[in-house]
Every structure is written in C-alpha cells, then in structure tokens.
Amino acid sequence: MNTHRIAVSLLAALAGITAAGGATKAPPPAPNLAWQEECGSCHLAYPPRFLPAASWQRVMAGLGDHFGTDASIEPAVAKEITTWLAANARKPKAGKPEPVPPPLRITETRWFIGEHDEISAARFKSPAVGGAANCAACHRTADQGNYSERNIKLPPK
C-alpha cells in the first residue's frame, strides 16, 4: 500500500471539508500532488500548459522507456496524472491543425522553437545550460511554474 496515496486522498478530503464550510467561490485549480511527486523528481515538473492533451497521453503511455530512462509508475497513479495533465493541457487553436503524431517534447513544438528562435543550438547545448529541456537554467523561477520574461537570466557563456 502506497502511503503517499493515502496522504494525498486524506488531504484532498480535508480540502473538501473546508471548502464545504467556506465561501461559495470556486477553489483555484490546485497543482496535482501526484504529478509534482512523480514528474518532478528527475527534472522539474513541466507544466501541462506547454503541450496539447494528445502529447501528454503519448508521454504517459510510454513511461517504461521515457527518453532513455525507466519512469514507470503505478497504473492508478498514472491514470490520475494523465487525466489532470489532459484537463490542463494547451487547448488546440481553431483552424490550426495539430501535428501528427503529437510531439513528445515541449522543446520540439513549433511554439517553443518560435519563442526561443534567438537562442542558438550551441547555446542550448552549452554545459551551463545542459539542453533546452533544462528550463530552469534560464527561467530562474521555473520550479514555481513561473516562466515570465522578467525572471529570465541566461547563465554566463
């Protein structure tokens, strides 16, 4: 029995109790605890808004061989995370076809490449950055889910 799961459901129950006794305002969309724990251990937990739901479903279906590592998780937990990622994923834009197959990497999406077109491949690969997927090397508040331009600081060359 996974004790974390118990803790998570108990906390969720507690949150429900306080909400029931409180105001009518809808609660803010809480970050999913299982996602934070399971998807934030080898790299920062990439926010769902950077990939469409179809991409997340593809990522989650292949965790046994995840970019060269084994990231497999319990099926029940994987299901919970997949549902949460898909619900908070980037919404497709009307009239803009989504690429097929859906990209597995944020760093391979048209959006990402366009947003970072001023950064050379060599700069991304430099030891101080360690690859485009290491968002936090430049986005200093990425671990809090904040990628705003104000908090960007490239490491020295």
Binding site: H4, A20, G21
Partner: protein, 133 residues
C-alpha cells in the same frame, strides 16, 4: 450543509498522515526475500560499496548519486540536483519502503538492464547506512 472539524481532530489526523507516510523501513522485506532465495548469510557493506560503483552498460549508481553518497548528486541527463543518498547527512533517505522499491526498480533497469536482486538491494542499503557524516 455545514461541517465543522475540530482543530484538534485535524491536528491528530495530520499527525497520523505524517506518521504513516514514509515510516516503513525497506530492509525487513528485502531481507525476507533474500532469505527465501537460500544461502543467505547476511548483507555486506563492502559488497554494497562495490556494487554502487560498478558500471553497467553506461552508468553506475555513482553516475547520478556521485561516488561519495554523502555528496549531492546530479541527474546525468537532465542536470537536476539530487539530494545526498547517505542517511547520515540526509535522514529522509531509506525510510519509505514504497519509494525505495520504486527507485530500485527504475534505476537498476537503467544501469543494469534488469531488476536488482534482494541481495544487491540489501547490500546497497547496508552500505549507505554504514557511512558516517
């Protein structure tokens, strides 16, 4: 409906959660499995130390956890920092059986292309616990 929870009841509940989460020592179950395998004469910190540094196809445990488990490590692909593995400097380590088993399963597959045996797991835990500050 208006449900009211007494603050003390909440505190007790939270203490319970904190107490059960991560309370399980991973070693007893591993030892039981090693015994069931037969010929078991105990775990060895020396064997664990050698295993920790031995390379599989590309990596060893030391690749991400550093050769000295008292030091912070670094994920070799993503560069993310990893807290030290030795309980002497990081008391949260090796206290949650489910977490330990999950990472043995993943990391052994990545390093050795197979799961670790109960003996290997017990040796590594014994080695990590044998380290002082």
């Amino acid at each position: 409906m208006n449900r009211i929870v007494h603050p003390r009841a909440l505190a007790v509940l939270l203490a319970l959660v904190a107490g059960t989460a991560g309370a399980a020592d991973p070693l007893p179950a591993i030892q039981q499995a090693a015994r069931a395998g037969g010929n078991f004469t105990g775990f060895s910190a020396e064997r664990g130390a050698a295993f920790y540094r031995a390379k599989g196809s590309d990596w060893s445990c030391a690749t991400c956890h550093t050769p000295d488990p008292r030091q912070p490590g670094r994920h070799t692909i993503t560069g993310k920092a990893i807290e030290p593995m030795a309980p002497a400097v990081n008391p949260a380590r090796l206290t949650d059986a489910a977490k330990v088993e999950k990472w043995f399963k993943r990391n052994c597959k990545d390093v050795l292309d197979r799961e670790c045996t109960a003996l290997e797991k017990g040796d590594v835990i014994t080695y990590l616990r044998s380290l002082g500050r």
